[in-house]
Each structure stands twice: as structure tokens, then as C-alpha cells.
């Protein structure tokens, strides 16, 4: 059996990107197995440990409580089936190679813009998740206060984001950031817990999942009831008849305003967005901001950025339990 440390994802508290991000999408994490990409998802209950180490304002049991609530938020998404089980406290660090899924604090003062990170070990023959480790950077200020605490990052909110990674979700692009004086970036607004930059300290909004997060987890862990009661949207993004790779596709439900997205992931520009509430959707395509490529794709080669944002010229009906008619969004060069 060959193991590979496949993916590491980080949540930035202050800044990661060099330019503004305005994207809408969830994306699932994948592993290449036998020449094909498979979704990373748990085929069993997630048994996790918590490192038995307190930090200044948070004890290990408080961390475990926040993580348990984070799991519960994901498990509460309707028509999904995913289980989690706290095994116990451990002296093990949240690092790979021990076959244990461990969540804990690590002091990483050199990563002054990183709040937390998740890393996977995956069997690259079967695609099975072997372990996932999550660390929270104890060099950052943390809070477990019920209403949040000004100046400290809410451990449960960041926990929901990291557990989303653990369950197989990548970063969403559903957010807007702006440049700070120190060269970092801050969130202007966002609409997905899985957006890679956190709200500022004191904010607890990311304890609550948004439509984009729910669609993503429904795609990965949806029950047969979910398959019957949600729908998909599919199509192509083209420029001059040629497919566009790496375009962001946004679907906005006309009745609710909920926003869910996806990416064109083939050279033909094909995309599929699943886990959608049935209804009529506005569909929009836009280029990925070049500073964000690394947060979504392992390799930025081939991501086409040379087109202007555009709405599809028809509303798209997403049926219950099926896929709507394939559409083609014909974008124009910038």
C-alpha cells in the first residue's frame, strides 16, 4: 500500500491572496486513483482524537466541544448521512503518519496569516481516506465564548471550516476581499463557510452553513432521498467555440437568492453543479482571479482567465432528482 500526503488546506485569518477575490463556488477535494480523479469522502464514521494540550484561552475539552459542534453543523444538513465519533484525548500531535485523525493546537508563529490547516493521507490505490489532521495555530488569538470575543477568532467557526475540509470539501470562492495596508487582505463580504479567508476576530457567522456549503456536502454525503429531491445543472463554458478550463459558474436560485457554484473542469469547458434545490436559476460565468488559483486547483496550468464575466441568456430549470438541460455559456474575451 502506498500512502501519500495529498492535500493541505489552510484558512487564512488575515491574508493569503495578492488580489481581490470575487468568486462563487464550492469544490470537492479529489485524489487521482488509477488515472482518474475520485472525490475524497469518508466511507465510514469519522473517529477523531483531540490533542490533550491547552492554550491560553482554550482548554482541550473546549476545543473538543467546538469540534463536536462543528461536526454536528455538517451532520445537520438535511438528507445527508455522515457520522463522527470522538475517540478520546491523545498526546499525539495533529500531524500525518500515525494513522490517526487528530485535531489540536500547534504553535506556528512563522505562519502569521494562517489560522488553521487540514492535511490528508489517502491510499492512492483505493482512494480511501486514511487519516486527516487538523491543527489550529495557537499563535493566533482564540475564543470559545458563546457570543464571540472581539479580537479573537471563534474556534467553532474556524472548526466548521476545517471539518468541511476533513469531510472532503475544498475552498469556495464565494467571497470578496480587499487589500490591507500591510499587504494582506481582509474579507469585505462572503457567503460560504468554506471561503478561504475568515471573518475578523469576534465574528461568529461561520458557525452557520450557507447554501454553497450545503450543496457541497450534499453532493458528497447525500442520501438516496437527497438524490431524489435535489437537482443538478450542467453545461459548458466556451470562448469562440473552444472550451474554457477553470471558469467559475454561479447558479442563483431566482426564488430564494441562494448562491451555489462550480467550476468548468475539463478542456471542453464542462461543468456540473450538484446538490441544488430544484427551481429556476440565473447562471453566470466568470474567470477565477489569478491570485486564487492556488486555493482551488493544485496546478494553475491551463486555467483560462482571459474572458469577461457573463450571464447565461436563459434561465435554467433544475429539476427534482435530475439534471437540467445542458447549457452553453458563450463568453467573450476581455
Amino acid at each position: 500500500m502506498t500512502r501519500t500526503a495529498l492535500i493541505a488546506t489552510t484558512l487564512a485569518g488575515l491574508a493569503v491572496f495578492a488580489s481581490a477575490a470575487h468568486l462563487e463556488a464550492y469544490i470537492t477535494l479529489g485524489a487521482t486513483v488509477g488515472g482518474r480523479v475520485v472525490n475524497l469522502r469518508w466511507d465510514r464514521t469519522v473517529d477523531y482524537f483531540v490533542t490533550n494540550r491547552d492554550i491560553a484561552d482554550v482548554t482541550a475539552p473546549q476545543l473538543q466541544g467546538a469540534i463536536d459542534r462543528a461536526f454536528t453543523s455538517w451532520a445537520a444538513v438535511p438528507r445527508t448521512s455522515l457520522g463522527h465519533q470522538f475517540v478520546g484525548f491523545t498526546g499525539a500531535e495533529p500531524v500525518g503518519g500515525d494513522g490517526l485523525t487528530v485535531i489540536g493546537f500547534r504553535s506556528r508563529p512563522e505562519l502569521d496569516r494562517t489560522l488553521a490547516a487540514a492535511s490528508f493521507e489517502v491510499d492512492n490505490v483505493t482512494g480511501r481516506i486514511l487519516e486527516v489532521d487538523i491543527y489550529f495555530n495557537s499563535s493566533q488569538p482564540w475564543s470559545v465564548a458563546a457570543g464571540g470575543r472581539a479580537g479573537s477568532f471563534d474556534l467553532e467557526s474556524v472548526g466548521v471550516h476545517e471539518v468541511g475540509h476533513l469531510l472532503g470539501l475544498g475552498h469556495s470562492g464565494l467571497g470578496e476581499t480587499e487589500l490591507r495596508a500591510d499587504g494582506g487582505r481582509r474579507v469585505v463580504a462572503k457567503r460560504a463557510v468554506m471561503f478561504p479567508i475568515a471573518y475578523p476576530g469576534g465574528n461568529i457567522d461561520d458557525r452557520t452553513l450557507e447554501a454553497d456549503d450545503k450543496a457541497g456536502i450534499t453532493e458528497l454525503y447525500g442520501t438516496s432521498d437527497a438524490i431524489r429531491n435535489t437537482g443538478s445543472l450542467s453545461g459548458r463554458v466556451t470562448l469562440g467555440g473552444q472550451g474554457i478550463f477553470g471558469a467559475h459558474i454561479t447558479a442563483v436560485h431566482t426564488a430564494t437568492g441562494d448562491i451555489v457554484g462550480g467550476f468548468s473542469l475539463t478542456s471542453r469547458g464542462d461543468f456540473v453543479i450538484s446538490g441544488l434545490v430544484p427551481g429556476l436559476y440565473i447562471v453566470r460565468a466568470e474567470p477565477l482571479d489569478d491570485a486564487d488559483i492556488g486555493s482551488v486547483f493544485d496546478d494553475d496550468a491551463g486555467v483560462n482567465l482571459n474572458f469577461a464575466p457573463m450571464f447565461h441568456d436563459r434561465l435554467v430549470a433544475v429539476p427534482r432528482g435530475g439534471t437540467g438541460p445542458g447549457i452553453e455559456i458563450k463568453v467573450k474575451a476581455k
Partner: protein
């Protein structure tokens, strides 16, 4: 005594039939008026909890011609109950504008078929002239299907309205013994369907014209 009662039963329907027919069949055209279907704002949320609008979409349902049929049963001289079935073909249009990244505004549309079956009551006024005003209300089941049949959803339709019926022929036996023309204006309420989902309701005007036969 039994013989007398029997005679009365025979006489009463004959007398009523002479005044006004009990069963009416109506077939005609209907025009559903355009209606606003609200505004959707694609929004993010800022750290203070305020909305950050990415773009705005204003929805409307276009006016639509259609067909309508009705069967009614007169239960008293002035009151009737009936079942109405209708079909029309509106477009659901969305004007998208104000994109935060400057995407061109666009009007996106989707054609659909709309069906409704309503059960209602009708009050008739002035039964003695050729012109007969009436008013009524009805409510029932709504079904909307997207053009490509990818999406269908149900809802509730209801209307209140009134109009005039002009008696072209009356008092003769058979279905062609009573013929009338009927014009009606209504205020229609719709909830649900594919355009609104669970998000609300909308009102729109409706006019209808029809041929009535009765016996």
C-alpha cells in the same frame, strides 16, 4: 299521497328548466395579465452582517393567452357551483443588472405552460334580461411546467371577479337551446409553482371571453 308527491317532483324540475338551465358548459379564451414576480438580490454578507449585493434580478411573468373550459351546476336560481380548467403559456423573464464586476445586463427568460383547476361559486344577478351580470370566486390547484419539461411544480391559484353574460338564445330544448356569450374580468392570485417556489405569492389581472351552452 304518494301519487301527489310524485307529481310535484315531476313538475318542479320542469318549471325550473323553463326559467334557467341547470347545467352549463363554457369554452373560451383567456388572457393572463403580466405580473411582477419580485426581486432577487445575489448577496454576500459583510462582517457586520450587512448585505453586499453582487447583482440584482427583477422577475416578471409576461401576459399570456390561453384556453379555458368550465362546467357549472346551478344549485338555486341565483347561485351556481362550477369547475374551471385553464391553460396558458407565459414567459418567466428576469432582468439582471448591476453586476459588481460589470457583466453586461441581460434579460433571461424561460417559457412555461401553466395549468389550473379551480372549484368555485358564482352569484348571478338580474335573471330576467338578456344581459346577466355575475360575480364569483374560485380556488384550486396550479401546475407550472418549464418549456423543456425539466421542471414542474404545483401551487395554488385563486381568483375573484365578475362579468356579463349575454343570452343569445334561450328556452329551447337540448344543448343548443340555451346559448350565451360571456365576458369576465378577474383578479388572480397564484402561490407556488416553478416561478415562486415557497417564496410568496403574486396577483395579476385576467380577462376571459367564452361561449356558453346549457341545458
Amino acid at each position: 299521497m304518494r301519487t301527489l308527491c310524485f307529481a310535484v317532483v315531476l313538475i318542479l324540475p320542469a318549471s325550473a328548466f323553463a326559467q334557467s338551465p341547470r347545467l352549463e358548459l363554457t369554452v373560451g379564451a383567456v388572457v393572463d395579465g403580466a405580473s411582477s414576480a419580485g426581486v432577487t438580490r445575489a448577496e454576500l454578507v459583510d462582517p457586520a452582517g450587512n448585505p453586499f449585493t453582487l447583482f440584482e434580478a427583477k422577475h416578471r411573468t409576461t401576459w399570456a393567452p390561453g384556453l379555458e373550459g368550465r362546467v357549472s351546476w346551478r344549485v338555486t336560481e341565483r347561485w351556481a357551483v362550477g369547475v374551471t380548467g385553464s391553460w396558458s403559456r407565459p414567459d418567466f423573464e428576469t432582468r439582471i443588472s448591476g453586476d459588481v464586476e460589470g457583466a453586461d445586463p441581460v434579460t433571461a427568460a424561460l417559457g412555461m405552460d401553466r395549468f389550473a383547476v379551480e372549484l368555485g361559486v358564482e352569484r348571478r344577478f338580474g335573471t330576467s334580461t338578456k344581459w346577466q351580470p355575475f360575480a364569483g370566486l374560485a380556488a384550486g390547484w396550479l401546475r407550472e411546467l418549464a418549456d423543456d419539461r425539466a421542471l414542474a411544480d404545483s401551487g395554488v391559484a385563486a381568483h375573484v371577479g365578475g362579468g356579463l353574460k349575454y343570452r343569445v338564445r334561450e328556452g329551447r330544448p337540448g344543448w343548443l337551446g340555451h346559448i350565451a356569450l360571456r365576458a369576465e374580468a378577474r383578479l388572480t392570485l397564484r402561490c407556488g409553482g416553478i416561478t415562486l417556489g415557497d417564496a410568496g405569492h403574486r396577483w395579476s389581472p385576467t380577462v376571459a371571453a367564452a361561449l356558453v351552452i346549457a341545458r
